[in-house]
């Protein structure tokens, strides 16, 4: 009898061990960078699904695509001769409209981009206000550990001291914390929606800051967003099996035609090494859009952004 009990206990113990092993292996399979996941079948499946989203882009699921943050984008934009326009920000009063996970994730991205825009241009009052709303969304999306009171206090102190650079650094760190938290907790689908929301807001602000001015630095920076668009879709493709992500990819694909119609010129590719051991990349591809292409892009981005902030998407 004792022997039977012992065997039974041993079997249960072994089952527990096996369960642990299986659970650990399942977690491992969610690892996006594990080369084991990057087999040929996965590539084919994802590409077929992307094809249904009506994209002509060549996206290889063996490649990890990355997208620059709104902070990095606005640190470039602030060097151009453009002025901050608070009317372009998504009103914090729209907050009540975002009742489901899709809207919360997309608008978290939008508000994060608004925070980056405000912080980059030294609009301290707006930065504080948008940090507050981003922190609230951190709670809603359960990434609140990224926005603790210490960070909030640091922001307040920097605003009091008019320290714009630190404000920008904190805004960058905040985005980093949320990003890392979601990535580490296998919430890549939510992360890709947040990134797409931030990307749309960045493009919306850029296309609405000024009227089209052929040859202006801003017009070139807008054209450059075709590169980030490609990487955004590449990033999202990893989570294409999530319905919300694939629906969002379909919405974004509406922009593709105009992006791909931009004039593309090529110069000889030159790489120089400087005396201090650094390199300069010259030549290559330059993208350029005309007035009509700008109008179409602006209209489509405004439409998509409105559907997100007005919660009609």
């Amino acid at each position: 009898m004792m022997n039977y009990k012992s065997n039974k206990m041993f079997s249960k113990f072994m089952s527990l061990i096996l369960c642990l092993v299986i659970l650990a292996c399942n977690n491992e399979n969610k690892e996006p960078n594990n080369q084991e996941n990057n087999d040929v079948d996965t590539t084919q499946v994802v590409n077929v699904e992307i094809d249904e989203i009506n994209t002509n882009l060549i996206l290889d699921t063996n490649i990890n695509y990355q997208v620059p943050t709104p902070n990095e984008l606005f640190s470039i934009i602030k060097d151009l001769e453009v002025t901050f326009d608070a009317s372009l920000l998504n009103s914090t009063e729209n907050d009540d409209k975002y009742t489901n996970g899709l809207l919360q994730a997309l608008n978290f991205g939008i508000y994060s981009a608004d925070l980056a825009f405000s912080a980059s241009f030294g609009a301290s009052n707006e930065a504080l206000k948008y940090f507050g709303i981003v922190r609230d969304y951190g709670d809603k999306l359960k990434v609140s550990n990224a926005f603790d009171q210490t960070v909030f206090n640091r922001i307040e102190n920097n605003i009091e001291n008019n320290n714009i650079d630190s404000l920008f650094t904190i805004s960058n760190e905040t985005y980093f914390s949320a990003y890392s938290y979601l990535e580490e907790n296998d919430r890549g689908a939510t992360l890709s929606l947040i990134i797409s929301g931030g990307w749309i807001e960045g493009l919306y602000i850029m296309t609405n800051l000024e009227k089209y001015n052929e040859g202006s630095e801003l017009s070139y920076r807008i054209s450059d967003q075709r590169f980030t668009y490609e990487n955004l879709l590449g990033f999202m493709a990893k989570y294409n099996d999530d319905d919300l992500v694939s629906d969002m990819m379909s919405e974004l694909a509406e922009l593709e035609e105009v992006f791909l119609s931009f004039e593309q010129s090529e110069e000889e590719v030159i790489t120089n090494k400087t005396k201090d051991g650094k390199y300069n990349f010259d030549g290559g591809v330059t993208l350029k859009m005309n007035q009509d292409q700008f109008n179409v892009l602006k209209e489509k981005v405004n439409e998509l952004r409105t559907s997100i902030v007005e919660a009609t998407i």
């Binding site: 960078n33 990890n64 990095e72 960058n172 980030t228 590719v269 300069n280 990349f281």
Partner: protein, 186 residues
């Protein structure tokens, strides 16, 4: 009872390394934070950095966007396999995509679609630069580039995944700061 205890210990000894290895894969997240950051030189952490578990002897590819007039620093590290540090091989490749119209057969129908043909230009290869482990550059325009990293096979203590392949936690650190603006404005 002693036999049961003995069997349990044996089972633990057999399975615990497998559990630990599976957990190690998970621990590869954020490996990049252990890489040497060049904060003192003014660089800011770039969110396009990447961490992961990589099979030794394999090549990994990361596609990133670099902005005009921004200076970037790219470096690699493996805190789990110190012997890899200093031995990574990497290339910076620029992919240039050109659109052209082609007839594509889909579901038995021939449709005219715009197809994008990509050509690759190697901008930098560290094997041709004394195996330098960091790369600092600036671009005169916004570009989409790929960092192709070869994870060398090293002898010595190794971790294995369930398929028996040696893997390492590798961080690809990207940092940026405002670069020096040169030349005429476009």
């Amino acid at each position: 009872m002693f036999k049961l205890f003995k069997k349990s210990i044996i089972a633990l000894l057999i399975f615990s390394p497998i559990i630990l290895i599976a957990q190690n894969q998970k621990e590869c997240y954020n490996t990049v934070k252990y890489c040497h950051h060049a904060k003192k030189q003014g660089y800011i952490y770039n969110m396009q950095s990447e961490s992961g578990a990589f099979v030794q002897g394999d090549t990994a590819e990361l596609s990133i966007i670099v902005y005009k007039n921004m200076e970037y620093r790219i470096s690699l590290c493996s805190p789990s396999h110190m012997d890899l540090n200093g031995n990574f091989e990497f290339k910076i490749v620029e992919k240039m995509t050109k659109g052209e119209w082609q007839d594509v057969v889909k579901d038995g129908e021939t449709k005219r679609r715009r197809v994008y043909v990509t050509t690759e230009v190697v901008r930098y290869d560290n094997t041709e630069d004394e195996n330098n482990q960091e790369f600092i550059f600036q671009s005169n325009k916004t570009r989409k580039i790929s960092v192709k990293v070869y994870i060398p096979e090293m002898s010595g203590e190794e971790n294995y995944d369930l398929s028996g392949q040696a893997y390492s936690c590798v961080g690809l650190l990207i940092e940026h700061q405002r670069g020096v603006v040169t030349g005429f404005s476009r």
